[in-house]
């Protein structure tokens, strides 16, 4: 230990000897790593799996149950109609299933209060167990039927009442009376894979939850995508909307086993065949059962700018690495005589390598500091310039450890060649001058 502290002291002396090149090396490494790390943060968070234990068991079934004959674009619609979902939920195969969409509304305790704009997730009972949503108070609706009951998030309960224990309280949702049946605990599923259409997976969780049937009864239209493929009047959601080709629903089923998945595929196949035979849709069948893991890329919602930037920042990191090793090579070469002297005094290569390790450690230390600063600034800048990704700017332990390792590896690489060259260089020459 004492020996290692000595090595550290020697390293520090070496830095003092030529502070400018050393500072430049650190600066360049920090900037390269920081910029790379800032982008890597977004890349990592955007591609993270919010439900690792079941994201391969959750599926979004899509099918061409539409009243039009497709000519050019035969992809299935990205959203389902109410009747599509009804047909899809008749199989009994999934362990759980929930249809959903989101809408905007205004919430208040009574008519005298100013309205609070809220985003409403209109969905079914299983939503909360499908995505492991934690409950703080109350209980989820017992079935999927219409009821004037809402479930609040912790934040919206606190915003409205200043407390969370508000089960049973009455509210006005767009001037209609609803009762609070439950309050959720803090919950944030990022990326929000259950709603990946139109880049919605980048958004925050919704503020309140309303039963699907009630949503249709109250004539809430989707704020993300509503498409009609016939003459359905979208002001008549509770009647025409339930029967016509008004598509706005996403539907998630949990299929735990390969057998279940196979059975569900077969069920979808049969359903489409039957419907086609009954003349209810003229398009070619094109059934899709997309796993939650693949939903973002299926919808083409991958953040291409972050991807492009990943390539660019990686190149930049390489440039910085080259540059820093260039600088450090120069630094070592100007110190080469000292290496020769140490060798003459009996230092073995491994002892010199230990000295180098101390150099690496010090450099890594400074670099980590610099990289964290640059990375933080980079993330701030990126949320400013690409605000769509602002929810994906957080560092977690994995990321920080990765940065730590990367900084050590980079410092090592930067020091490796120069020190090898210095310690393997011919011994005699440097001592003569």
């Amino acid at each position: 230990m004492e020996q290692f502290i000595y090595y550290l002291k020697v390293s520090l002396k070496g830095i003092k000897r030529a502070p400018l090149p050393y500072a430049l090396t650190i600066f360049i490494l920090s900037v390269g790593l920081g910029v790379f790390f800032a982008n890597a943060t977004f890349y990592y968070q955007l591609n993270s799996d919010p439900l690792p234990q079941k994201s391969d068991k959750l599926f979004f079934p899509m099918l061409n149950l539409v009243p039009y004959q497709c000519t050019t674009d035969c992809r299935t619609p990205r959203v389902l109609s109410y009747s599509n979902v009804q047909k899809l939920s008749q199989s009994g195969i999934p362990t759980q299933a929930a249809a959903m969409y989101s809408a905007d509304g205004y919430l208040r305790i009574n008519a005298t209060q100013p309205p609070l704009p809220v985003s409403i997730r209109i969905t079914q009972r299983d939503f909360f167990s499908l995505f492991d949503v934690p409950l703080l108070h109350g209980s989820v609706w017992p079935d999927n039927s219409a009821r004037q009951e809402v479930i609040l998030t912790k934040t919206s309960a606190e915003n409205l009442f200043g407390r969370t224990d508000v089960v049973g309280e009455k509210l006005l949702l767009d001037d209609r009376h609803v009762t609070i049946s439950a309050v959720l605990d803090s919950w944030q599923m990022l990326p929000r894979l259950y709603d990946a259409n139109n880049h919605n997976h980048l958004s925050d969780a919704d503020d309140i939850y309303l039963p699907l049937e009630t949503g249709y009864d109250m004539n809430y239209l989707s704020n993300s995508q509503s498409s009609t493929f016939d003459d359905t009047d979208y002001r008549q959601l509770s009647t025409q909307g339930r029967t016509g080709a008004l598509h706005q629903l996403q539907y998630w089923v949990q299929l735990d086993t390969a057998a279940q998945q196979q059975a569900y595929r077969q069920f979808m196949h049969n359903l489409v065949q039957d419907e086609k035979a009954a003349g209810r849709h003229p398009s070619e069948p094109n059934n899709q059962l997309i796993a939650m893991r693949d939903i973002v890329s299926y919808f083409g919602g991958e953040s291409s700018d972050i991807k492009a930037f990943a390539l660019v920042t990686l190149l930049f990191l390489l440039v910085c690495l080259f540059n820093a090793s260039h600088l450090s090579l120069n630094r070592y070469l100007s110190n080469q005589y000292e290496f020769g002297l140490r060798r003459a005094l009996g230092a073995s290569r491994s002892q010199l390598q230990l000295q180098m390790l101390a150099d690496v450690l010090l450099m890594a230390l400074f670099t980590i500091g610099g990289a964290l600063l640059t990375g933080y600034a980079g993330i701030k800048l990126m949320t400013e310039l690409l605000p769509a990704n602002r929810l994906f700017a957080d560092w977690d332990l994995t990321l920080l450890i990765a940065l730590l390792l990367l900084a050590v590896i980079c410092s090592y690489l930067v020091t490796l060649y120069p020190s090898l060259r210095a310690s393997f260089g011919t011994l005699n020459q440097q001592l003569k001058e």
């Binding site: 139109n198 930037f309 660019v312 540059n323 260039h326 090579l329 310039l385």
Partner: protein
């Protein structure tokens, strides 16, 4: 001083030179592609929109009570709001619309000639339901037919007449007269000049407009105002208050000029180009550091050689030029590799984002910029090196 000797000098410092070349090449590659992307964004932001962006103000709003979102209360609210904002000084014209222009996506649908859906269908054409002043707000030119003079309900047995933009008319009817033709949305009454509708559509200039109160305002609606040139700021300040006086139960999402709306529409591209520009600046800085340090160390190590040259009669200038030329040569060789690398990077980037391909003069420009930076960075250490005294040649011998 000969090129041959310069090359030889570079080759003798293999590793250092290779590092420098690689880094110069990568810098150039990144720089080139950043400039490309920035150029593209600039072009996108400057493409014609068919509207006087600075002098049209957009208010996006929604009633907060359900009763105000159904007819006839809604139509009455719309008219009250229009009357109030029209009375403001500097407002030339005001109209409501179910949606604004210059959006990513919104309310849109198929447009085709009745009975000829298969042949003429145009998908995702924005559908505007507006008050009749809408065309005055946009300052549209009427190219064929006449604009509808009265608002007609969409539920009317005879659907309201349709106005389409020039590009869409050309696509649907080629050069034939379009007026009076039956579209799936109604009878075509007029063709107006193009304006930028929705970015996600097949053609941003395709639009269809009907003078009718919107179906519903679940997604909110827009009030668009044409103002006296230069007065957008003044009008904007009063809008919030005026609209709330008319009806307090509204939420105003935003009040912007269409110029701002246009910028937001390309915010992502702008952000990416901006980031790449910042990165390019950092790269140039890094390159400058490396040119600086390489000259500095090189001169330090060759003090004796420079001393000998000075003793043999080399002027300060020739030493200076020699050191600069070494860096120039290095930069040029690196830049050549860089152009190749830039092409590869361009192709790789084209896989994930839309980026134009490289053209002829841009590489030359960026190489010049790179040379300038390298020269600036080399200047100081090279100048220092020329101060080495000819006497130092004899010292160590």
């Amino acid at each position: 001083m000969s090129l041959y000797l310069l090359f030889k000098g570079l080759l003798s410092r293999k590793v250092v030179t290779i590092l420098l070349l690689l880094q110069l090449a990568m810098t150039l590659a990144l720089l080139l592609n950043s400039v490309l992307l920035a150029q593209q964004t600039h072009k996108q932001l400057n493409q014609p929109t068919g509207m006087d962006l600075d002098n049209i103000v957009l208010v996006q709003l929604k009633p907060t009570t359900a009763s105000l979102r159904v007819y006839p209360a809604l139509e009455e609210l719309l008219n009250r709001q229009l009357n109030a904002v029209s009375a403001l000084p500097d407002v030339v014209a005001a109209a409501y619309a179910n949606q604004s222009a210059l959006l990513q996506g919104g309310n849109n649908g198929n447009v085709y000639l009745d009975g000829e859906e298969g042949r003429t269908n145009q998908p995702s054409v924005p559908m505007y339901f507006v008050s009749k002043e809408f065309f005055r707000v946009l300052d549209s030119q009427v190219l064929q037919g006449e604009l509808p003079q009265h608002s007609v309900s969409l539920d009317n047995p005879v659907r309201p007449d349709v106005v389409i933009t020039q590009s869409l008319a050309k696509q649907l009817f080629a050069d034939k007269s379009a007026i009076g033709q039956q579209l799936n949305r109604g009878r075509l009454a007029a063709v107006i000049s193009d304006f930028y509708g929705q970015r996600s559509g097949d053609n941003v200039m395709y639009n269809s407009i009907q003078v009718a109160p919107p179906y519903g305002v679940d997604w909110g609606y827009s009030i668009l105002l044409r103002v006296t040139p230069g007065r957008a700021g003044a009008v904007r300040q009063q809008l919030d208050q005026v609209l709330r006086q008319v009806e307090p139960n509204i939420e105003i999402f935003h009040i912007r000029t269409l110029a701002e709306q246009h910028q937001r529409l390309y915010r992502n591209e702008y952000g990416l180009a901006m980031l790449l520009t910042i990165l390019s600046a950092l790269m140039l800085l890094v390159t400058m550091v490396s040119s600086y340090s390489s000259t500095h160390f090189h001169a330090l190590k060759r003090q004796q050689e420079i001393g000998i040259k000075r003793a043999l009669g080399a002027s300060k200038n020739s030493i200076f030029i020699e050191l600069l030329s070494e860096n120039w040569l290095c930069t040029l060789v690196g830049a050549l590799f860089g152009v190749v690398l830039a092409l590869l990077l361009n192709q790789a980037l084209a896989q994930v984002i839309s980026i134009p391909s490289l053209n002829g003069y841009l590489p030359v420009m960026t190489i010049m910029a790179l040379l300038l930076c390298v020269t600036l960075a080399t200047w100081y250490p090279a100048a220092i090196a020329t101060r080495i005294s000819p006497a130092s040649a004899t010292k160590a011998l």
